[in-house]
């Protein structure tokens, strides 16, 4: 599959006059692909004969990263010294280590090796992941402003340490439960706990965060030259907030992290942004703040109701609050308060208008983090909290919202992107379209579509991160992002062109690259969904149409930028991508291939968590009766939920505002079939 994209670049390699750069690049990518295959073969071998090979595999497993690092260092072309080679080799080695660790059989081998036990989970690991960047940001405050190199080095080191610390997460077979569970009382009077844990869904988002942030930081050090101290502080604080929000299971804690992310991003856009930065930053802030305060009100109401029902016990624990069931009219309000704050973050039409402004004005690193991670807060939040806490109403509105996601997100976003003159704005609108797919997959709520949605969250992070990074590269050289100012860049910047086209292809969803798998899963899932009423077919078609539009707007932009004659004199002297940018973008491009060729790496870990979410969703969504009462599901942590939903009697007296589901009658009685056709 990897070779499929290369013919289109080969002519430019030969015309560039500097083929020395590109050949090793492809050799490098090929090596990675080979490595993937090799690891898979090794893994297979182990499954057959675990006892004898596990020891050998452990040795080989530890050698592979070193081997890859050496090969990459050797492959880097002649003109570059150790300062380029070493980081590239390091990144490649780390990458290999990641893959070796997250390979499904790797976890199995580790399990077998440790006498049939799950590898020991360090309960404080997640706190370390949050604490490292937080401590780093505080340490930055006490460092001299006059020593930018020290500040930058500290920031990168802390981020890489966080990345390294996240590796043990991959060694655990996630299954259906939560892992690395840490639950400490924080404020006893309100029942607020510091409760963090991770499952197969948040795992990948955390990995994405710790993976993208160092890249964003590294690339930013090339273009940000003012107020380095504040910049490093904001980056580290943001990383801590993002990781915290993905692993928090106490609603209060989640809210705190959610708000902690806000200020650094606001400052990033407002201080280091473009000409209209202040307006964009304020818009970003006020939109998010308005949504999050509504969410806070709903959280308060949930906790209050819980304490009223249980007779005084206050809690903000997600699993405890999940047991509450509200009458429909109340649930709509609560659902709305949560959903609107997530929709703003996603962003869904019509509350998406802050996004293009924020992206256009934000500095490159800000855009990368915003697109890659912050937007996922919305989709993750909807999946975890809206569907977890209010499944009835979520199911009821799924069809309508699916329509909004298709029309307002996928199609409208794509059409807007098509009309943009500014490359960065184009990529921003393409984000609206891509996030539309994610939301559609979540609304469709079949196993395939949700897994596709989660995969697409990661894919979008990697792809759009790379695109923003590459747009930043050209902006640093030309200080313009207008499509009309470019043209024929393929002749002067061949490597850059190759990378940009690979990222574009990934964004469009060309098979073999990462975008394809997610979109495919989402579209098939939508077609098979029974949650979208009678319109799921139309929505699937709409979503498929979006793929064509994506090709249209992305390829138009590529065509205008890279091909045709060079119309501007300034463009004739542009230098190709430099070592720093290469080092930053290489892991993203590698990730595109890896995720495209071996999506099972991620999906295997998700199965359990997605299944758990769907069982919750189905069980609650079908429950008759209403009223604020418990349903006695064994929801406590650590206990595995039985596959069959617990028997729940209908409430003694159905309240006037009872539950009614628009699409319940049209469903087959079996109901639980996730992949069957709805009607």
């Amino acid at each position: 599959m990897a070779t499929k994209t290369s013919p289109s670049q080969l002519p430019h390699d030969t015309t560039s006059g500097r083929p020395a750069w590109t050949t090793p690049l492809f050799a490098f990518l090929a090596a990675v692909v080979l490595l993937v295959v090799a690891t898979q073969l090794l893994g297979r071998g182990n499954e057959k004969d675990l006892a004898s090979f596990s020891q050998a595999n452990a040795t080989v497993g530890s050698l592979i990263p070193l081997l890859v690092a050496a090969v990459v260092a050797w492959l880097v072309p002649q003109g570059h010294g150790w300062r380029t080679r070493a980081p590239l080799a390091f990144i490649a080695g780390l990458f290999a280590l990641f893959i070796a660790n997250m390979w499904p059989s790797a976890a199995a081998v580790a399990t077998e090796g440790a006498a049939d036990a799950q590898p020991e989970e360090m309960p404080t690991l997640l706190s370390w992941l949050i604490g490292l960047p937080l401590a780093g940001s505080i340490a930055i405050l006490f460092m001299p402003r006059q020593a930018p190199r020290l500040l930058k080095a500290t920031t990168l080191l802390v981020m890489l340490a966080t990345l390294a610390a996240s590796i043990p997460l991959l060694r655990v077979d996630m299954g259906r439960t939560f892992h690395f569970n840490q639950d400490v009382v924080w404020i006893e009077r309100f029942g607020i706990h510091y409760h963090v844990a991770i499952d197969g869904i948040s795992l990948w988002l955390v990995i994405l965060t710790v993976f993208i942030t160092p890249i964003a930081a590294y690339v930013s050090f090339g273009s940000i030259h003012t107020r380095i101290k504040d910049w490093c502080f904001a980056l580290l604080l943001l990383e801590a907030g993002m990781i915290g929000a993905f692993v928090a299971l106490d609603l209060f804690l989640f809210y705190v992290f959610w708000e902690v992310m806000l200020i650094p991003m606001y400052v990033m856009i407002g201080v280091w942004g473009g000409t209209n930065r202040i307006k964009a930053a304020l818009k970003f802030f006020l939109y998010t703040m308005a949504g999050s305060l509504l969410m806070l009100a709903a959280i308060l109401y949930l906790a209050y109701t819980y304490s009223r029902v249980t007779g005084g016990t206050a809690t903000f624990d997600f699993f405890e609050l999940q047991r509450l069931q509200f009458p429909r009219h109340l649930q709509i309000w609560l659902w709305f308060a949560f959903a609107i704050s997530f929709f703003i973050k996603v962003p869904m039409w019509p509350v998406h208008t802050w996004l293009p402004d924020a992206h256009t004005e934000a500095p490159t690193a800000g855009s990368i983090i915003l697109a890659a991670v912050l937007l996922k807060m919305g989709t993750y939040g909807y999946l975890r909290f809206c569907m977890g806490l209010f499944p009835e109403v979520s199911a009821e509105f799924a069809a309508t919202l699916g329509g909004v996601a298709v029309l307002g997100g996928i199609l409208y976003g794509a059409l807007c992107a098509w009309r943009q003159d500014d490359v960065k704005r184009l990529v921003a609108y393409s984000s609206v379209a891509h996030l539309g797919y994610v939301m559609l997959g979540i609304f469709a709520a079949t196993r395939g579509s949700i897994e596709g949605a989660i995969l697409q969250m990661i894919n979008h992070g990697v792809t759009t991160g790379a695109l923003f990074l590459l747009v930043g590269v050209i902006y640093d050289r030309r200080h313009t992002r207008m499509l009309d100012d470019f043209g024929g860049l393929a002749k002067v910047m061949p490597v850059y062109t190759a990378l940009f086209i690979i990222s574009t292809m990934a964004s469009i969803g060309v098979p073999g690259l990462n975008g394809f798998v997610g979109e495919f899963l989402i579209i098939t899932g939508t077609y098979a969904s029974d949650k979208l009423g009678h319109v799921n077919g139309i929505q699937a078609v709409g979503a498929a149409l979006g793929v064509i539009l994506a090709a249209l707007y992305m390829l138009t932009a590529v065509q205008k930028m890279f091909f045709g004659p060079i119309t501007r004199d300034e463009n004739k002297r542009l230098s190709d991508i430099n070592a720093r940018e290469m080092i930053a973008v290489a892991p993203l491009v590698i990730a595109m291939f890896v995720l495209g060729l071996a999506p099972n790496l991620l999906v295997n870990q998700m199965h359990g968590a997605v299944e758990r979410i769907l069982v919750d969703y189905e069980t609650r969504g079908k429950l008759p009766g209403g009223g604020t009462k418990f349903y006695e599901g064994p929801i406590r942590l650590g206990i595995r939920r039985p596959d069959t939903p617990p028997p729940v009697g209908p409430s003694p007296e159905p309240t006037p505002g009872g539950l009614s589901f628009g699409n319940e009658g049209s469903r087959p009685a079996g109901g639980g079939a996730h992949d069957g056709h709805g009607h």
Binding site: Y255, V260, A281, L282, L300, Y304
Partner: protein
């Protein structure tokens, strides 16, 4: 007797300290007065705070002798909590004054004497169990505050603000007194508990009691500077020297809320008067909505940062009134939420005014937003401190202000006031806008060429005040358990019986 002296010690210590300070001021040669007095006043306040903590730990429930003072001064946990809070606010104001007055050539010893005696008035108000005592305490507190407002004698704005404050304040005090007089006429009592019992018992003077209630409410609400009785506040706050503003925004406002809670919950805790249908709660709820909305909208329009902070202080009174209204359903929790909010508000607002003081030296004060442009780059420490306090005032976690708001909103939701809570939420968003504007100017704008810019002053006093406030703001935001327990204990042990 010793036990009584001990639980009364915060007040006594302050009185003694103020007398000693005045003596010291009179006896020291003029050129040496400068440095010592601020330090002395701070020490007096810190001692008062320490004795409050001591009295709290000692416990007031078992002190039989406190009956000697009842019903004029009621010494309970509520009183002790406010004693500590006033001393904290007073200490911060004294520290700020130590830097500010010297920088601006206003250094005269009366400031500290007025500060301490006015604080004693606040303590009397918080402890007052009798209508007359409420009035005496209120006047003691207010007259000090009037004088502090007018302290910059050469400035017309200062005089204007003080005169407005004085005239309207006396008028409101007269209305309050009139209300008390009617209450006395209707019930035959001047002690608050007696009035409350008489009202609960019922009688033929219902109309008179209602009229009295309106008058008392007006008087009380004037003191907390709620809309539409807020007209004096922006001018007085802006005209006063900034440490005096800090004092008014922190201590005087806390005193007014102590009085409001004590009078409403003791006198008017009758079932009928506390009901939503015929009592003070709906009136107060409307005032809260008006206060929040109007103050926030006007604050967004201001060009002067100090005036913006003045309006923000009015808006915070609105949030606090939401908590006061919530007392009708859950007296203990809601009162505790008001107390805790007052604590977080005191440290945040004192810090914000302190940061404003630190940002400007004589001749280059930070007045308008433009003055602050680019200060984040020129003087990062001052800007960082200012940002922290503004973030806390805006109520963004993990700072003190967030937990204050959280507790208030939680109490309001517990009491079932959803609409009120949502309005308060939206007001928080509006408020975030103008707090952030300061951040925008400090970090994202550069001053126009030739425009006047603020240059920070150097003062150990101000720096100390800021460091203390900053530590408290972060500590209250991260580990609020202990102060929360204290606030809950203070209110639950005092106002135990809900609904009368």
């Amino acid at each position: 007797m010793m036990a009584l002296a001990f639980v009364l010690s915060p007040l006594l210590i302050l009185a003694l300290g103020a007398l000693l300070l005045m003596l010291a001021e009179a006896l020291t040669p003029k050129q040496n007065r400068a440095a010592g007095l601020a330090l002395g006043a701070t020490i007096v306040f810190v001692a008062g705070f320490a004795f409050s903590v001591g009295a709290w730990l000692y416990g007031v429930e078992d002190v039989a002798e406190r009956e000697l003072l009842a019903p004029w001064l009621v010494i309970d946990r509520f009183t002790i909590f406010f004693d500590g809070l006033f001393c904290l606010g007073g200490a911060l104001a004294a520290l700020l004054a130590g830097g500010y007055l010297r920088e601006h050539g206003l250094e005269r010893g009366e400031f500290y004497g007025l500060l301490i005696f006015s604080t004693i008035g606040g303590m009397m108000v918080a402890a007052a169990g009798d209508a007359l005592m409420v009035f005496i305490g209120l006047e003691t507190m207010s007259i000090g505050a009037y004088a502090l407002t007018a302290f910059r004698r050469t400035s017309p704005r200062s005089a204007e603000g003080a005169l407005k404050y004085f005239l309207l304040g006396s008028f409101a005090a007269a209305i309050l007194l009139y209300g008390f007089a009617l209450l006395y006429g209707a019930t035959g009592h001047t002690d608050l508990v007696g009035i409350g019992n008489a009202i609960r018992a019922g009688g033929q003077h219902q109309t008179m009691i209602l009229v009295a209630l309106v008058l008392v409410l007006v008087g009380l609400v004037f003191k907390v500077s709620a809309v539409p009785f807020h007209m004096w506040a922006p001018d007085a706050y802006e005209g006063a020297p900034t440490p005096a503003t800090t004092y008014m925004a922190a201590v005087v406002k806390c005193g007014a809320f102590a009085m409001l809670l004590r009078v409403l919950l003791t006198c008017f805790s009758d079932q009928g008067l506390m009901s939503w249908a015929a009592g003070w709660p709906p009136v107060l709820a409307w005032i809260a909505v008006l206060t929040m909305t109007v103050a926030n909208l006007i604050a967004g329009q201001q060009e002067s940062v100090k005036r913006m902070l003045a309006y923000s202080s009015i808006a915070h009174a609105g949030y606090l009134l939401v908590g006061v209204v919530a007392t009708i359903h859950s007296m203990g929790t809601a009162t505790a939420s008001v107390l805790f909010y007052l604590l977080t508000y005191t440290v945040s607002t004192a810090g914000a005014f302190g940061a404003l003081i630190l940002c400007g030296r004589k001749g280059a004060e930070a007045v308008s937003y433009e003055d602050l442009a680019g200060i984040g780059r020129r003087h990062p420490a001052a800007a960082l401190a200012f940002s922290l306090f503004l973030v806390s005032l805006a109520g963004i976690p993990p700072t003190a202000g967030f937990f204050g708001k959280w507790f208030i909103f939680r109490a309001a939701i517990d009491a079932g006031f959803y609409a009120l809570t949502i309005i308060a939420f939206f007001n928080s968003v509006i408020a975030a806008y103008y707090y952030l504007r300061v951040l925008v100017f400090m970090y994202m704008r550069e001053p126009a060429a030739g425009a006047p810019i603020a240059t920070p002053m150097r003062s150990g006093y101000v720096a100390t005040a800021l460091v203390v406030s900053a530590i408290l703001v972060i500590a209250l935001g991260v580990v609020p358990s202990l102060p929360l327990d204290v606030a809950v204990e203070a209110s639950e042990k005092t106002f135990a019986a809900p609904g009368g």
